[in-house]
């Protein structure tokens, strides 16, 4: 049964590498260089920001959409379950932040919120797979 396209298993490690490097770079320009929020247009800064924005998204997508070493229809069910929980938690976070977070902190939250649904999906799915592979009772 092959009805969902998934990337090969080896994309997962590349995804983590891309994510780690670009997230570190993003953290560097956000917290150390403090040049992420710029007001005069500058090509170099725009390029650096694009790496910091697109890099983690590409990395996390590679991780999220690559095959498991064991990939069958039960694993696909675990994917769906993880995706639904991730979207639900993401919605709750957005609601909570809209109600209780204001000003600059809310701006920071918005710049991270684009990764939260993917991160939640990956962690919930990994937890599901961990439980599944350890379901040994016969």
């Amino acid at each position: 049964m092959k009805n969902v396209f998934l990337l090969p298993n080896r994309c997962k490690i590349w995804g983590w590498i891309v994510f780690a490097f670009s997230a570190l770079f993003g953290a560097y320009i956000l917290f150390i260089e403090e040049s992420y929020f710029y007001f005069n247009f500058d090509y170099m800064q725009a390029f650096k920001n694009n790496i910091a924005i697109i890099g983690p998204l590409v990395g996390l997508s590679l991780v999220a959409f690559s095959k498991e070493s064991v990939e069958d229809e039960y694993v696909m069910l675990l994917r769906t379950d993880a995706l639904m929980k991730a979207i639900l938690i993401d919605c709750l976070l957005i609601i909570i932040c809209a109600l209780f977070v204001y000003g600059g902190a809310y701006f920071y939250y918005l710049s991270f919120s684009q990764y939260i649904v993917l991160l939640l999906y990956i962690f919930i799915f990994r937890y599901n797979v961990y439980k599944y592979l350890n379901s040994n009772e016969e």
Partner: protein, 66 residues
């Protein structure tokens, strides 16, 4: 939905792993089906039935609440 995979395996004297290999899924998936935690797709149900040379409804059957 209930099933008699465990009984059929006992009759054929094969392990979960052997059945899993012959229908191209993982052992844990066979375990989940036997425990009733997972309802397999029609394709997988047909493959399992074919493995035991039986019809699908000899192995899988509906319960009252289905």
């Amino acid at each position: 939905m209930k099933n008699s995979i465990r009984v059929e395996r006992a009759i054929a004297d094969i392990s979960q792993q052997q059945l899993a290999d012959s229908v191209s899924v993982s052992r844990q998936t066979i375990n989940a089906i036997e425990k009733g935690r997972f309802v397999p797709s029609t394709v997988l149900a047909l493959k399992i039935a074919r493995h035991f040379n039986k019809k699908v409804d000899d192995i899988f059957f509906l319960e009252e609440e289905d």
